[in-house]
């Protein structure tokens, strides 16, 4: 465990010092939010209706965008190779890195998004359920994004490919995330199950992503 703690601490220090990762993701999130009314029109009522969905889409795009650098630098400077030779299994290393990315980017974005809801005239009573749903959802968003990062780590122009591969996997998170964000409006029979399913998706991702990512990384190290 101490081994993974060293990795997480290092990744967080790097994220903090370079600052670029989270900053650009937040900037990207803001951009998506500003494009919506410019495209759809400033009509408050319309914006309010699409606000939860729009915030979720902006969130998952930002998380995906901020994830492509998780393994890139480590792959290029040879750290990734040495990590496979370390005492900790690669699956755990991958999990630690995904966790570090979630702490540095996934979670902050999931907390920031509802706070920016007022830009889209988000109904105040939706802010809390949206935050809860997004925090739970961000776990699987970060995990799946890290899987995408692992799959394209050796490729030079992997950016578009990773969106094509990972965005479809985001569909369930989006659907249940938005329905959970309706919160009280949607009534208890929709709110609770959606949250539970969201949690289930995160747990499934928690188990499957490290194995898949480790396999992908090993393929590139060959």
């Amino acid at each position: 465990m101490k081994i993974l703690a060293a990795l997480i601490r290092r990744d967080l220090t790097l994220a903090w010092r370079q600052g670029g990762g989270v900053g650009t993701a937040a900037g990207f999130f803001l951009t998506v939010v500003v494009l919506l009314p410019l495209g759809i029109g400033p009509d408050q009522v319309l914006l309010q209706r699409i606000a939860p969905g729009a915030l979720w889409i902006a969130l998952l795009l930002s998380v995906l965008l901020s994830a492509d650098s998780i393994y890139q630098t480590d792959f290029e400077d040879g750290s990734l190779e040495l990590m496979t030779m370390g005492p900790a299994p690669l699956e755990m290393v991958v999990l630690a890195k995904a966790f570090a990315h979630w702490l540095a980017a996934g979670l902050p974005l999931a907390i920031l998004a509802p706070m920016l809801g007022f830009l889209l005239n988000l109904a105040p009573e939706l802010v809390l359920p949206l935050t809860v749903a997004m925090v739970i959802g961000s776990v699987s968003l970060s995990l799946l994004a890290s899987l995408g990062a692992a799959v394209i780590v050796g490729l030079r122009r992997g950016g578009v490919l990773v969106s094509l591969l990972i965005l479809p996997l985001y569909v369930p998170v989006l659907i249940f995330g938005v329905s959970a964000s309706r919160g009280a409006l949607a009534g208890p029979d929709i709110f609770a199950p959606s949250l539970l399913i969201l949690l289930a998706i995160s747990l499934v991702a928690l188990v499957s992503v490290p194995v898949a990512s480790a396999a992908a990384i090993r393929a590139y190290l060959k």
Partner: protein, 240 residues
């Protein structure tokens, strides 16, 4: 290598005028706040909320002015290859971003009593929002590129491209706004402003500008020192 033509001359100039600039800023703020909050009459329509204008409009003007300064110094850096010009643009960006944020926040606070919503996508605020994103982009460029020399080259281009697009964005947002909302009740320049409002506004605008000058000059000194530090560290590392 990033050579400094005459940082010493700039540093001497800066330390000479810095106290005066700070003094002027304080005096202007005092005068501006006093005239704005005490002397100026409340607006017959908006009542006291019109006083928000004294913090909103200067911030908005400064947001635009600082980006223009960044674009100008980037152009100077390209034409005259003057490394200090790059520093001027780099240090101005965070200050500009802060004022743009202030313009957005005070604009939203000013709009709330009138429109009932914390945020309305009206022409002025929307273009200001996009300007804020231009600032974030510019700052992100400096952070993303480790080598300062290369960072400077890219940042110049980003600043100029951004600057050229500001009028285009402004025009298209205004047109977009007129498409959806007949006439926006709230206009920044609004009807002819009565002198009792105009004077405090101008004082506050000058106060904001002096504040920017004070911050910018001291930020440049810090940046020059930071570059010197980096070179000394390189030299120190190189020799051991």
């Amino acid at each position: 290598m990033q050579k400094f033509a005459n940082p010493t001359r700039f540093l001497r100039l800066q330390s000479a005028i810095q106290p005066w600039v700070v003094a002027a800023t304080i005096v202007l703020f005092a005068a501006g706040l006093y005239s704005g909050l005490v002397m100026a009459p409340p607006d017959y329509q908006q009542g006291e909320t019109v006083r928000i204008m004294f913090v909103h409009v200067p911030a908005a003007w400064l947001a635009l002015m600082i980006y223009s300064i960044m674009a100008l110094s980037s152009a100077v850096a390209i034409v005259f290859r003057h490394p200090l010009a790059d520093l001027a643009a780099k240090t101005a960006a965070p200050i500009g971003a802060a004022f743009t944020f202030l313009a957005l926040a005070t604009g939203s606070l000013w709009g709330k009593p009138m429109w009932g919503a914390w945020w309305v996508w009206d022409a002025g605020l929307t273009s200001m929002f996009v300007l804020f994103l231009l600032y974030l982009g510019y700052i992100a460029v400096w952070q993303a590129i480790e080598d300062p020399a290369r960072g400077a080259l890219i940042a110049r281009i980003v600043a100029l491209v951004g600057f050229i697009n500001i009028p285009i964005i402004k025009f298209s947002v205004d047109w977009w706004n007129s498409l959806h909302q007949p006439a926006s009740v709230f206009r920044i320049d609004g009807p002819a402003i009565h002198s009792s409002i105009l004077i405090p506004l101008l004082i506050m605008a000058t106060a904001y500008t002096m504040l920017f000058l004070a911050l910018h000059l001291s930020a440049m000194r810090a940046e020059i020192n930071a570059r010197k530090l980096r070179q000394m560290e390189l030299a120190h590392v190189g020799s051991s």
